[in-house]
Each structure stands twice: as structure tokens, then as C-alpha cells.
């Protein structure tokens, strides 16, 4: 049953709301809890999640909506009764004299060079405008900023010689400092421009783990390479890296950049005498650009950049990739015989949209089509229900799944639940998951996933099946979670750990396809 309440005129930061929701979801008999401010966007999301109650209709932006799905009325009432306490407990306390505005922040920290903005999207553009007027470079982590505001801000930034990363820029590394969701990578000579946050994380960690390092990793937000924005900041970031003495190799990452924008990027790249590696994902053919290497996956891009940075020849790259594929094929061959004939399908449970995209592009040629776009489903819970008879790759970081709950990189509960559900399906051949480490991400992902992996494999085994669970971990040994520890713990729980998302995708597809690809 679904029940809820409206708390009028009580603003809470979304982070506090998420923390409170996580706490409430742990109560007995409670299936799901959404705590969101009553904006039109949030109401639409609640609606699509089947959690929009009639009593929410009159609520205004500054009201707080609480929706609870529980086994019974008592559990729901208990959860609603605990909302106040949960909200009070949420969020770290600030010193009483913490500045209340960007201006106050700059007054207190006169050396400030960059504003990192992660307030709700409808407020983010005004904050960014203030930051630019104060002469600060800006990273807007927030999403839901109107496109026309993005264009306006980026024009202003360019005119003032400032960098404006975002909106929806999840990750960056500047002067070695991780911004937003980012990893602790070696410093080095590879500079990254990325219109994708997880793309930036995957490539920067691969470069670092290959023994090379990152000079600067700049994000632009996913929309920068759309026609409407015209790659304004992508081009500015590329120019910054071209001029940066510490950068020797440049990697450009974008999901399906617009056909009008790609030539602009080519022209700018031509002006650089540094080798440029591209990973324009979802572009079948990006033309004979001035690229040192044109990668089709993030893994290729990372390996290529590391190879170039170390002064090795690019001709070595295909061999490195081929070696990795043979390794994956060998693992697939050892797993494949233990599968039952019914086990034919891949189920991908992703936290990173770009990683899901990379997986799809690698797997499509091997396994054929996937279940349709799950975003259109009326209910997130229904969308996330097992789908027999098809391959599917779900991005649990999509809006429908993150209503009133933290991103799956922070909160593994939905993924764990879904993992156990999939294990009951005799048609599932292999489960594929990404785990993203670094600042911003969950402090102990293996601790969250390990029990669910064990449960899933036990359930499959009770059904007379072996269930391979393939996991890739985006991270480094220097991340707070420590890559080797996470990998070991996942292996110990029963997962097969692949060296990259691309390798994991290839491995999972090879297992499911049942043939050497």
C-alpha cells in the first residue's frame, strides 16, 4: 500500500532528503520511501513511479512530499512518524558562521578560483551566473538546468575567459583535485575533455592504472556537444589543454556528438600539435579526423592515451586490446559449460549511463537486440521487474529510479534487490554490473554487494543453475575505497571481476552468446 503526507513550507536540501529516505527505507515492512520537494518535475517523477498521491495535488514548490510504499498500514504509519527524526539526523552540521552565499564563500576564501555548484537544478543557473560575475570558473554538478540558460552561461563564461563545466557535469579533476564524483588518479600528461561523467572516470582510471597519469580532466556536461550548445565548452576545454604545458596527450570523450559539432572539434584539434585520442561513443564513423587514435570504447581510449603518454607506438594498441579479449574469451570458455540450456540472456544492472551505453555497443554485435527503452514504463518498480526472454541493460541511475533516493553509486539497495530478483529467472545466463569508486561514491560498495551476490548465487544454485556475475570496478588503488580491496572482496563473494567495463561487457556477452565472437 502507498500512503503519504505533505509537510508544508519546509525546505530541505536534497542530500538531507536522500539521507533521510535511506534511513526510513530500512524500517521493517517498508518497501520504498520518496522524500522530495513538491516541484512539478518531482511530481512527474513520483507519478511515473506510482507514488503520486491525490493529496499531493495542491502542494507547492516549497512543500515537502513524503510517499511510503509499505506492506501494511502500521509499517507505513511508523515510517511517516519517523520522518521528522530522520530529517533532523540527516546531513553534516556546519559551523554557525558558514557562509550562506557564494559571495560570502568568496569573502571567506579570497583565493577561490572555482565554484562547484550542486544545488537543485532550478537554482543552479543563478548561482553559476553569480560565480561567473565574481570571476570564478564553474562546475555545475546539478542537472535540470534549462538548455537556454546553459547556452547563455557558456557564452558569458567564454567571453570572460572562464571555464563553465556542466550543467550535469558529474566529474572533473583539476590540479589533481577530484571534483564531484571523481577518482584519485596519478598525475601525468594525459588531459581529458569529457561530455560524460562516468566516461571521464572510466578513462582517467584506466590511464592511471596503465601506469600513465592525468594532467587535467575537464567535464562539459552531456549536452555541450549537442547542436544547440555547439560544443562551446568542449572547444574551450580543448584549447585549454592545447595550451597547457603539462598536457602531452589529449582524450576527447562524448556520447553521440552532433554532426555539426564534430567538424568544429576536428578543426580545433588540428590546431594542436599534441596527439588527440577520441572516444565518440555511438558515432558509427567519425571520419578521418586529425586523431592519433579513434577509439570505439572507453577502454580503447584509456589504453591508447596511456600508450601515447608513455611514448609507445599506437600500433601496439590493437595487440593490447586483442590480448585482453583473449583473456576474457578464456574465462568465458571456462564458465560456459556450467550453464543450463535455459540460460541465454544477459542482465546488466548499471549505475553509469555511459557505461551502460558502452556495454550496449560492445554487446550488440555479439548477442543481438536488447529489451526496449525502459524509461517509458509507467512504474519504475515495474520497469525494474525481471523481463524474461530478452537481454536487458538497465541504467539504475536514470531519473525514474532515483526519485527520492540517492544515485545507485551511493545507494546500492535497489541494485541488490534487483540482483536477487534476476537470480530467480532461469533464463538469465549472466549478470553484468558496474561498480564506480572514488570520492562521492559509496564508501564500501563490496560490503553492500557481497551479500546480494551470495544470495543470488545461492538462489540460482537451489534452482539447479550456476549464475555467473560479472563486475567491473572503475577506480584506482589510491581511491578511498581502494580498488584491489574492492575487487578482492567481490571475487571472494563469488563475482568474476573484469579489468574494465568494456572487458566485462565483452565477457558477459561471450558467456551469453555461447560462442567465440
Amino acid at each position: 500500500m502507498t500512503s503519504g503526507t505533505v509537510l508544508t513550507g519546509s525546505y530541505f536540501d536534497s542530500v538531507a532528503l536522500m539521507a533521510a529516505a535511506v534511513q526510513l527505507r530500512k524500517l521493517p515492512g517498508v518497501q520504498d520511501v520518496a522524500l522530495v520537494m513538491a516541484t512539478a518535475t518531482n511530481k512527474a517523477i513520483l507519478h511515473s513511479a506510482g507514488m503520486l498521491l491525490p493529496s499531493f495535488a495542491g502542494a507547492k514548490d516549497e512543500d515537502l512530499l513524503v510517499a511510503v510504499i509499505a506492506d501494511n498500514g502500521d509499517a507505513a504509519a511508523a515510517a511517516l512518524g519517523a520522518v521528522d527524526d530522520a530529517l533532523r539526523g540527516g546531513g553534516p552540521s556546519l559551523p554557525p558562521d558558514a557562509p550562506r552565499t557564494l559571495h560570502g564563500g568568496v569573502a571567506a576564501l579570497p583565493s577561490a578560483s572555482l565554484a562547484l555548484i550542486s544545488v537543485a537544478g532550478r537554482f543552479a543557473a543563478d548561482e553559476a551566473l553569480d560565480a561567473l560575475r565574481l570571476g570564478l570558473h564553474v562546475m555545475i554538478f546539478s542537472d535540470n538546468v534549462p538548455l537556454e540558460r546553459e547556452v547563455e552561461l557558456k557564452h558569458l563564461a567564454r567571453n570572460r575567459g572562464l571555464l563553465l563545466m556542466g550543467p550535469d557535469c558529474g566529474s572533473a579533476i583539476i590540479n589533481g583535485a577530484p571534483l564531484g564524483f571523481a577518482n584519485v588518479v596519478r598525475r601525468g600528461s594525459v588531459g581529458i575533455v569529457a561530455a560524460s561523467g562516468t566516461g571521464l572516470q572510466e578513462v582517467s582510471t584506466i590511464v592511471s592504472n596503465q601506469g600513465a597519469g592525468i594532467s587535467q580532466a575537464l567535464g562539459t556536461g552531456g549536452r555541450d556537444t549537442l547542436r544547440e550548445v555547439g560544443g562551446i565548452m568542449f572547444l574551450e576545454a580543448l584549447r585549454l589543454l592545447t595550451d597547457d604545458a603539462a598536457t602531452a596527450v589529449i582524450v576527447l570523450i562524448a556520447k553521440a556528438p552532433d554532426t555539426e559539432v564534430v567538424p568544429l572539434i576536428s578543426r580545433a584539434a588540428r590546431r594542436s600539435d599534441k596527439p588527440v585520442v577520441t572516444a565518440f561513443l555511438g558515432v558509427s564513423h567519425d571520419g578521418p579526423g586529425p586523431w592519433a587514435f579513434s577509439a570505439t570504447t572507453l577502454e580503447e581510449a584509456g589504453i591508447a592515451a596511456a600508450t601515447l603518454a608513455k611514448g609507445d607506438d599506437v600500433s601496439a594498441i590493437p595487440q593490447i586490446l586483442a590480448a585482453r579479449r583473449s583473456e576474457m574469451k578464456a574465462i568465458a570458455a571456462s564458465i560456459r559449460p556450467s550453464l543450463a540450456p535455459s540460460q541465454r540472456f544477459v542482465r546488466g544492472l548499471f549505475s553509469g549511463g555511459t557505461l551502460r551505453g558502452e556495454a550496449a555497443s560492445i554487446m550488440m554485435p555479439l548477442v543481438g537486440s536488447f529489451a526496449g527503452d525502459l524509461r517509458r514504463s509507467a512504474s519504475a518498480e515495474r520497469a525494474s521487474a525481471p523481463r524474461g526472454g530478452m537481454h536487458s541493460l538497465v541504467d539504475l541511475g536514470a531519473d525514474e529510479f532515483t526519485v527520492g533516493r540517492p544515485h545507485p553509486m551511493i545507494d546500492y539497495s535497489l541494485r541488490c534487490r534487483r540482483l536477487v530478483q534476476e537470480a530467480r529467472d532461469p533464463g538469465v545466463a549472466v549478470i553484468l554490473m558496474d561498480v564506480v569508486l572514488g570520492y562521492g561514491a559509496h564508501p564500501d560498495p563490496a560490503g553492500e554487494l557481497a551479500p546480494a551476490i551470495q544470495d543470488a548465487q545461492r538462489i540460482a544454485s537451489e534452482g539447479g543453475r550456476t549464475l555467473p556475475i560479472v563486475v567491473s570496478v572503475t577506480g584506482t588503488a589510491a581511491d578511498p575505497q581502494r580498488l584491489p580491496s574492492v575487487q578482492d572482496a567481490l571475487r571472494e563473494a563469488g563475482a568474476v571481476v573484469a579489468p574494465s567495463n568494456a572487458a566485462a561487457s565483452y565477457l558477459a556477452a561471450t558467456i551469453a552468446a555461447g560462442r567465440d565472437a
Binding site: 552565499t101 564563500g105 583565493s111 551566473l129 590540479n175 583535485a177 585549454l240
Partner: protein, 470 residues
């Protein structure tokens, strides 16, 4: 695009998710967390401010430059009826926004009755109450007559007043002399001892001070305030240093111009009243802020005042309109035997000091009174620092030693109040809710935000008459 971003250590202002600071700091870079809140007005109104940002900023610069260049000087003393514009024998001026007799709080009604007894318009308390309620007396805010009054703020026709002149523009402001603590008219007391003291002030204190000020050729109040801030005053709840400085300047002139006994009596009275300077501080602030009135598009607040029932705000760009909300009851330290239950809602024109960047806005300069704000000097610093976020400028004459002589935050900006939801912070005295009892405590109060939001909204509609109510 410049590459200076890469050439110096990264230093981040983090607005939003607090734990983003962790990774930045772990990498050895600097980060500061902003305790951000959403704007207190709807997006369409905030967008109007953004569209007119340059116009507003220019108007505000004009407003604060007038406030900062004001040179308040005590030039003389005189009778209210002779000096205050619009004053008549039947007029009684009061603190705060306009209010009619029936809605006045206890202490204000008490002070009005006391004034009518003092004016000999009534012989008894009952007669005074009947006269006040009869409609024969015209009540009007001090602020509408170039005047200010602490607490009840009552000024009647024959009361002597200080005349503070802003030499920069020639304008004047008026305020009564401070009676001291205990049972006093401004806290609503009207017993015979109250009236006797007022009589003494008119008969002896007034002529002695008037002669001395005349002999001195006036007294520079801006210089006294600037020095007092370096000596632990914020010239609202603490005036000990300013009163001492005032007395130092005045004493020789009093001795030279007054009879020996009268001189001793006056000097002893001023010395015994730490708050004697408060009324001069208020008049200085009033005359400075009045010079910034009526600048189109300016979002600078020119008056915050309370009548014990309502809290009122006036802004430069919104004409003579008062924007009001119910006055809050202060958080206070109460005198023995009293509690918050006895407290009247906030009252008085003394918030003019905060409006001018003093009082609660300068509390970092007054460590001696930090028990009002939590007991630690650090708390006081925090309150002052927060006020920089809602003000248009830093004072060029009034500076705070403990903040490395940073100018006090001055010129409350309606737009910034709306943007941050941050309420102005006011030092205040607390009156008993019943007339005739007097002061029961002192403390601090946050201004209610509604009048500022209403004023901001009015300004937005003045800037854009076609703006739609969301």
C-alpha cells in the same frame, strides 16, 4: 581563455553537496562549504531582479555612497514643537510603523499616557487613557517626521530633542534624551517618578546641554561612533564607551557654561546612564539613512522599526510605504523575576542602528555583550559575518578591530535577503507587556522576513509593472 586555473592551487567554493569538499581537501586543495538555502521569493520575481541587476546595483551604490558620506553632528537641542516637521500640540509621535491607539501594545499605551500626563493634558491616568482613545490626539510614526525614538519612542510637543545634522546635505534628525534604565517612559512606565524625571530633564538637563553644545560649536558624532566601535560598543545594546567619550568632550563645556550644582547634577546623570548615547547613535543613523531615501530601483532598506505590535520596513526604491509583519518576541536574558512570558513583542526605532550597519550588525565589535548571542566571542563574529551576505557595502568610517578593521556590513539589500532567506539580526531591549512596569530584559531578535519579501516584491513590480504574480 586564460590558463591561470592550472597555474595556481585550486581553491573551491562548494555550493551544495557538502561531502564534495572531502576529495578536494584530501588532494591538498582548499574548499569552503556554503550553507546554501533556496531563494525566499518565487523564480519569476527573482528573475526580474536578475534582469535589472545593473540598474539595481547602480541605484544601491548611490544609496550607500550617500549613507557612507553622511557626517552626523549634534548641533543643538530644542523643543519638539518648534523643530520637528509636522509636529503639533495634539500630535504624539511613536516608534515603528503607523498604528492606532486600540492596537497599540501595553508599553506604548503606557508611554502615551505618560506623555499626556507630562504635557499636563491629563491629571490622572484614567483621564490620560480617555484622551488617548478619544480621537483628539493624532498618532504618527517618528520616522515620518525625521525622528526616531527608542522602545515606545514617544515624542510629545514640549519634549526637548537633540538636533543631529548631516553636514553633507544639510538634513536634520531628531531624538529625545535618554532617561536611563528602570521605570522610564520609553518602556511604558508613567508613575509620578517617571514624570518628575522628564520634568527635570526639560528644566535642567536640556538647558545645560544646549548651552554646552552651543559653546562647543557642535559635536562630531561619527567620530565618537567610530572610536566607540574600537572600544567594545556596537552603539545599540552597548553604549558605555560612546557615552564616556561624549561625556569627555562635553564635561569642560558644561563646567564652563553651567552653575556648579547644575553641572554636577548633569554630569552625574549622564555618567550614571550607560545608554545616554543611544539616542544620539539612533539620530545619527536616522539622518544618514534618510539621505538614501527615494532612489528609484534601489533595494537598500532605509528603516527597520517596531511599534510593539508590528515590525515595519521601508526601502529606498519603494517610497514612503511601510511593509509590516507581526513583531516577534525577542530571545533575551531576563532580569530576575521575569521570563519570556512577561515580554512584549519587539518594540522601538532603535533597529535604525542595524539598518545603518551598527548594533547587531556590528556585534563582533562588542565582545562584552556576547552573552546575548551564546556566550562566545566567536558567535558574535558569526552574526556579523552573516550580515555581510545581505548588505550592499562595508562601512568606510565604522570598522571592527576584531575583523582586522573590516568596515561594518551596511545597507541591507532586499534582493539579497530574498536570495538568501537570511533575516537581519537585531540587538534589542525587552519591555514588559503590561504598561507601567518597564524593562524586563535585553537580548537579540531576528527580523521577520515577510516585510522584506513584501518590499522586494513591490520593488520588482516597480521595476517591471507587467510582472505576473506567480
Amino acid at each position: 581563455m586564460s590558463t591561470e586555473l592550472f597555474d595556481r592551487p585550486l581553491s573551491v567554493v562548494n555550493v551544495g553537496i557538502p561531502w564534495f569538499c572531502d576529495g578536494i581537501r584530501a588532494a591538498g586543495a582548499e574548499a569552503i562549504q556554503v550553507d546554501w538555502r533556496p531563494p525566499a521569493l518565487p523564480p519569476n520575481v527573482m528573475a526580474a531582479f536578475a534582469r535589472h541587476a545593473e540598474r539595481i546595483t547602480a541605484a544601491n551604490q548611490e544609496a550607500v555612497s550617500r549613507i557612507l558620506s553622511a557626517r552626523p553632528r549634534l548641533v543643538t537641542l530644542g523643543r519638539a514643537l518648534d523643530l520637528i516637521p509636522g509636529m503639533t500640540p495634539d500630535t504624539i509621535l511613536h516608534a515603528g510603523p503607523p498604528i492606532a491607539w486600540p492596537r497599540m501594545c501595553g508599553p506604548m499605551q503606557g508611554a502615551v499616557m505618560g506623555a499626556l500626563l507630562y504635557e499636563r493634558r491629563a491629571g490622572t491616568v484614567e483621564e490620560a487613557r480617555d484622551l488617548a482613545a478619544s480621537g483628539a490626539i493624532r498618532f504618527s510614526p517618528c520616522h515620518d517626521h525625521a525622528s526616531v525614538g527608542p522602545m515606545a519612542g514617544i515624542i510629545s510637543a514640549s519634549m526637548p530633542v537633540f538636533v543631529v545634522r548631516n553636514d553633507e546635505v544639510g538634513a536634520q534628525a531628531f531624538c529625545t534624551m535618554n532617561e536611563g534604565l528602570g521605570k522610564v517612559l520609553r518602556y511604558g512606565a508613567y508613575s509620578p517618578e517617571v514624570i518628575q524625571r522628564l520634568d527635570w530633564m526639560a528644566d535642567l538637563l536640556f538647558p545645560v546641554l544646549a548651552e554646552a553644545v552651543k559653546a562647543l560649536g557642535g559635536i562630531d558624532l561619527r567620530a565618537i561612533i567610530a572610536q566607540a566601535l574600537h572600544m567594545g560598543d556596537e552603539v545599540h545594546n552597548r553604549n558605555r564607551a560612546a557615552t564616556s567619550l561624549f561625556l569627555r568632550i562635553l564635561a569642560p563645556a558644561i563646567v564652563e557654561t553651567a552653575a556648579r550644582d547644575a553641572a554636577a547634577e548633569v554630569l552625574r546623570f549622564i555618567d550614571g546612564n550607560d545608554h545616554f548615547f543611544l539616542n544620539l547613535s539612533m539620530a545619527s543613523c536616522k539622518v544618514s539613512l534618510d539621505s538614501a531615501r527615494g532612489i528609484p530601483s534601489s533595494s537598500v532598506v532605509v528603516a527597520m522599526a517596531r511599534n510593539g505590535t508590528e515590525f515595519g520596513v521601508q526601502a529606498s526604491g519603494t517610497g514612503s510605504a511601510w511593509f509590516t509583519a507581526p513583531a516577534p518576541v525577542p530571545d533575551a536574558l531576563f532580569f530576575p523575576g521575569f521570563s519570556k512570558a512577561d515580554a512584549n513583542p519587539d518594540i522601538g526605532d532603535s533597529a535604525i542602528t542595524e539598518t545603518a550597519g551598527l548594533g547587531g550588525f556590528a556585534i563582533a565589535a562588542a565582545p562584552a555583550i556576547v552573552q546575548f548571542v551564546g556566550g562566545a566571542a566567536r558567535d558574535a563574529v558569526g552574526y556579523t559575518l552573516a550580515m555581510y551576505e545581505i548588505t550592499a557595502a562595508e562601512h568606510t568610517a565604522y570598522r571592527i578591530p576584531g575583523l582586522d578593521f573590516r568596515g561594518t556590513p551596511v545597507g541591507i539589500d532586499l534582493v539579497k535577503v530574498a536570495r538568501t532567506g537570511l533575516q537581519p539580526f537585531i540587538d534589542t531591549g525587552v519591555a514588559h507587556r503590561e504598561p507601567g512596569i518597564g524593562q524586563v530584559g535585553a537580548g537579540v531578535v531576528r527580523a521577520p522576513i515577510e516585510p522584506f519579501l513584501a518590499a522586494a516584491r513591490a520593488l520588482a513590480f516597480a521595476l517591471e509593472p507587467t510582472l505576473k504574480e506567480s
